[in-house]
């Protein structure tokens, strides 16, 4: 950085990101700032409940790498060059594990999705910021305290198994600068980490960077940040390797430290723990426990390591399902009695996974639901068989396959053989996963490279100018029968259509077999749940009632890369989202290209200061979106997830002079009486807010931070991720 010419410094070796222009860089920087502010609000007001899996290199670090403005200036030092090297040494031998900075082993260096590692991140993009914040501090410290080193400085992030705790990865972050006499520095830093924040009731002076790093590490573990001073998490300074506090007479409930300064040979660094991906929650009734008795302790340990948790209901031990806890798993299998389901699952429905496969022992009736699908006796027998075989990956894949096909069947859809066999013929799945009886020609998923012209053609927006667009995007479409012959742009004929920006999404690039040759063209077994979620996302209808997103979606335009001279106007985000079944009501201010029908053509300007004029029609609109459990036919125009900004609810409460008020109970009553009309509903209501933990959050309702929703509707618009976060949402 010489102060005259803005330079771009890449912290990761990702060729695709060369294409970011100056305006994009600014928008990425502002988006980063927005998310950081929401992270600060969140970390200081509550503990995260939502968790989902993100690929460390391809998603978390690649997103940071895009923020070139921040990376350029964050060190605060001229010409400070650095590069991240990420190593996954879990499956490597001792040579890699014990040798820092080694880049010779191709197996452990993560350069793409082939050996990328998934981590469970609390609160999605906000949790990513907890990690970014730690890295920012390390970069700044490196720049501040190291005067001479070979450029660029290399910052290593090593992943290994935590030796004692199944649910964590041990993560070491260190630089490539060799230091002599490290021990004094390590002791001093750990003493600072151990010392109290408060001295005589006041904030201590100095070592403040360590405080926020340790608090962020606690957030990444989903622990209250105030615990960083607790005895249970103190550092054993005398033992560089120890995860735990020094033992005091063998007492106490000691837990691994949040953050510890460590010496790695001659390299100084920090160690923290990241959560492993959570894959599957299995809930079993006490009287079915004999069916899993064949599981040995080592099987259970292996299941835990793979993110599978077994919970026994009606059991007094720690594995018991707790009604007050949040279980941040993407999917759940219930195997037991209907009485147990009603007693232990229904009362905590917003603390448990939104995807449920349910088997009731005996001939108990089961009410079909979008979010709780019934599985058959033969299927549960098969599941128990795989469970006993000790093949966790196979179990997870089978569960996802089962869930996807049940979901589609519920919607009256089946997978087309053409789809599976042409696009994904190389799926390495055992035959029993996909028997021919699952396939039907009535359903087509087309995931191929149609580009924007293909996209617009499908939407009947094809025009001469659009013919010039470069086909650089992957176009994914899920269609009903005969939908390729559509002559109108109505959503009824095209269920789902979405351009994917193939530059950004590494996982999808792999899943969708992008034309980029450097990525493997086969779908490996561990990508299967991602593929299922991709297809699931295409049939999920999400309504968003938020004035900020309404304005942003109407004022943001999707413009694919164009040939010189092409003057295509592009497509408004509100239209683009509409095509992906993400529906934001129109404000009436902007004209849109996609025609909407029925209620969706109504116009509400949610940015009105007062809702006095629009309160009645807004409430009627909201009512029309809610699907009740008594409705037999699935109506895709009704919401599977209805996201409502808390501020919108408050405006409605004020406008209607709601007698119960705006406190938590008042808001809850308003939703139940005015919107849901006291009916038993299928639609999941999610409250969105950017206030941290809102004081009047209606109890028992699902919650999402605004930043997370905005991230996947606007900044990194992609239905796949939005679908992931709505399904991951939990009560707070």
């Amino acid at each position: 950085m010489n102060g005259n010419i803005f330079k771009i410094y890449k912290s990761l070796n990702i060729p695709a990101n060369n294409e970011l222009d100056g305006v994009s860089l600014f928008s990425i920087f502002n988006s980063y700032q927005k998310s950081r502010m929401d992270f600060l609000a969140d970390i200081t007001f509550g503990e995260p409940t939502l968790e989902n899996t993100r690929l460390f290199f391809s998603e978390i670090m690649a997103d940071l790498d895009k923020n070139r403005i921040l990376l350029e200036y964050i060190s605060g030092t001229h010409d400070f060059e650095f590069q991240f090297v990420i190593r996954n040494v879990i499956n490597c031998d001792d040579k890699c594990k014990k040798e820092p900075c080694s880049e010779t082993c191709k197996k452990c260096i993560i350069m793409d999705t082939s050996n990328d590692i998934g981590v469970s991140i609390p609160n999605d993009v906000l949790g990513c910021h907890a990690f970014y914040l730690i890295l920012e501090n390390i970069i700044r410290n490196c720049a501040k305290h190291n005067s001479t080193f070979n450029k660029p400085l290399r910052l290593y992030i090593d992943f290994d198994e935590c030796a004692t705790e199944d649910e964590f990865y041990e993560v070491k972050i260190y630089d490539n600068i060799e230091k002599n006499n490290l021990s004094g520095l390590i002791i001093s830093q750990n003493e600072k980490l151990n010392s109290n924040l408060l001295e005589s009731g006041k904030l201590r002076s100095g070592a403040w960077g360590l405080i926020e790093m340790e608090a962020s590490a606690a957030y990444l573990r989903k622990k209250p940040i105030e615990l960083i001073n607790d005895e249970e998490f103190k550092i054993d300074i005398s033992n560089n390797q120890s995860y735990y506090p020094p033992k005091k007479n063998g007492e106490g409930n000691n837990q691994p430290n949040f953050l510890k300064a460590i010496g790695y040979h001659k390299h100084y660094g920090y160690r923290l723990f990241l959560l492993k991906p959570k894959e599957l929650l299995i809930v079993i009734s006490q009287d079915k426990i004999e069916d899993i008795n064949s599981l040995k302790p080592e099987n259970l340990a292996r299941l835990r390591k793979q993110g599978i948790k077994l919970c026994i209901v009606n059991n007094e031990n720690e594995e018991n399902l707790n009604l007050n806890n949040v279980y941040a798993f993407p999917i759940m299998l219930f195997y037991g009695t209907k009485a147990d389901y009603e007693k232990f699952v229904i009362p905590n429905i917003t603390g448990l996974p939104n995807r449920q496969l349910v088997y009731f022992a005996g001939k108990k009736s089961f009410v079909k639901s979008r979010f709780a699908q019934k599985i058959e006796k033969t299927e549960i027998e098969f599941i128990l068989k795989i469970l006993a075989e000790d093949t966790p990956k196979k179990l997870i894949n089978y569960i996802w396959k089962n869930w996807l096909l049940k979901q589609l069947a519920y919607l009256g859809l089946k997978i087309s053989s053409g789809f599976w066999r042409s696009s994904f013929s190389k799926i390495n799945i055992e035959p029993e996963y996909f028997s021919d009886q699952d396939f039907d020609e009535s359903f087509i998923v087309d995931l191929s490279d149609h580009g924007i012209s293909g996209c617009l053609k499908m939407l009947n927006l094809n025009s001469q100018e659009n013919q010039n667009a470069i086909n650089d995007d992957i176009f994914a479409a899920l269609n009903g029968a005969n939908s390729f012959n559509v002559n109108t742009g109505l959503r009824n004929q095209i269920s789902y259509s979405e351009p994917y920006n193939s530059k950004d999404y590494f996982l999808l690039k792999k899943v969708l077999k992008n034309k980029a040759k450097e990525f493997p063209d086969t779908i490996e077994e561990h990508d299967f749940p991602a593929l299922c979620r991709l297809i699931e996302g295409s049939v999920t209808t999400i309504y968003i009632i938020d004035e900020r997103l309404q304005e942003l979606a109407e004022n943001t335009t999707y413009r694919p890369e164009q040939k010189a001279g092409n003057t295509s106007e592009g497509l408004q985000f509100t239209d683009l989202l509409f095509c992906t079944n993400v529906i934001i009501p129109l404000s009436g201010k902007e004209s849109t290209k996609i025609r909407r029908q029925d209620n969706n053509s109504r116009k509400f300007n949610l940015n009105e200061t007062s809702f006095n004029e629009i309160k009645d029609k807004t409430i009627i609109y909201l009512r029309s979106l809610v699907k009740t459990k008594s409705e037999k036919e699935y109506d895709k125009n009704k919401a599977d997830f209805l996201l409502i900004h808390l501020g919108v609810l408050e405006k409605l409460i004020t406008a209607t002079k709601w007698p119960a008020g705006k406190d938590d109970i008042g808001v809850k009553k308003f939703i139940e009486e005015q919107i849901l009309q006291n009916k038993n509903v299928e639609t999941k209501i999610i409250i969105i807010s950017g206030r941290g933990k809102p004081h009047n959050m209606p109890p028992g309702y699902l919650y999402l931070n605004f930043s997370i929703v905005s991230q996947y509707c606007i900044e990194n618009r992609l239905k796949y991720f939005l679908n992931e976060v709505v399904y991951s949402s939990k009560k707070i």
Binding site: V23, L25, F26, R36, T44, I69, L197, E226
Partner: protein
């Protein structure tokens, strides 16, 4: 924690159990005499224990808003669950609005004593609510909630009279303990008594003072240690917030945003073209 009265017949013994229980709990002096008398030096205002039919104590803090975190000391010997639910409903509706308002506006500064006797159970005694009504229109919205609270209170009174056919009056003393170092945190304690006799105003005052002492002791002895830990943690959390706000200002504000404040620099970045200046 719970205490269950075994027999309804031996009332004196029940009260003795109660006081013994409280003694072990709050350091209430037990004279070793079964004929426990709640009394003061004011002659003629003694209330014999046999007149006390039931006694319930509830403690809760404003940060413990979940029902399962309420510490209910239920000394009721029948319809216990139903009673507890009513009691909690009463507190739930009263906690943020009415009780605080009544405490605040009570002209006699008699901290939230409510008394009602069977003779007048059909009329609502809401002296402090009347005060609010004539006070200001701005309180109107709150009054609606208070009215709701009075309804809950009436329901509870009716329930008490139903449970205890011999009860002639029902009494509640509510206490609010603001914790100064933690401005948004209050401890609330309530003691609920039913009597077999009518109470005069002097007796109400005496019982009120005794109950106040009792409630304070219970609150301090049982909730302060928890509160101290909570306060320490909250202070730690506030300190972390302070540090994180400062660090964001310093790291991103001073070092990144400060370089993006001039039109020239912004234009320079906006005009950046990929691959032109890459290192």
């Amino acid at each position: 924690m719970s205490y269950e009265i075994k027999s309804r017949v031996d009332l004196k013994k029940q009260i003795t159990h109660l006081v013994k229980y409280l003694d072990s709990f709050v350091g209430f002096e037990n004279k070793g005499n079964e004929d426990i008398t709640l009394t003061t030096s004011s002659e003629g205002n003694t209330i014999e224990t046999q007149n006390i039919i039931s006694c319930q104590i509830v403690n809760y803090g404003s940060e413990s808003d979940k029902v399962n975190e309420y510490k209910v000391f239920n000394f009721c010997h029948q319809e216990k669950d139903k009673y507890s639910i009513e009691l909690l409903k009463f507190f739930k509706s009263a906690k943020n609005k009415s009780i605080l308002s009544i405490c605040k506006f009570d002209p006699q500064n008699d901290d939230g004593i409510w008394y009602k006797d069977r003779k007048h159970s059909d009329t609502v005694q809401k002296y402090s609510l009347e005060y609010m009504e004539r006070d200001t229109v701005a309180k109107y919205e709150r009054f609606e909630n208070d009215d709701h609270c009075v309804k809950q209170w009436d329901n509870w009174v009716k329930l008490m009279f139903k449970i205890y056919p011999t009860a002639a009056s029902v009494f509640v003393k509510n206490l609010t303990l603001p914790i100064e170092s933690k401005s948004d945190f209050n401890l609330y304690s309530g003691i609920f008594l039913t009597f077999a006799c009518q109470l005069n105003f002097k007796q109400i005052g005496i019982i009120g003072r005794i109950c106040e002492t009792l409630l304070q002791e219970i609150a301090f002895k049982n909730l302060i240690p928890t509160l101290y830990t909570d306060m320490q943690r909250q202070a730690t959390k506030a300190a972390i917030s302070q540090v994180m706000a400062r660090n964001m200002s310093h790291n991103i504000g001073s070092h990144v945003l400060s370089r993006l404040v001039t039109p020239d620099r912004i234009l320079e970045i906006i005009n950046y073209k990929p691959n032109n200046y890459e290192r």
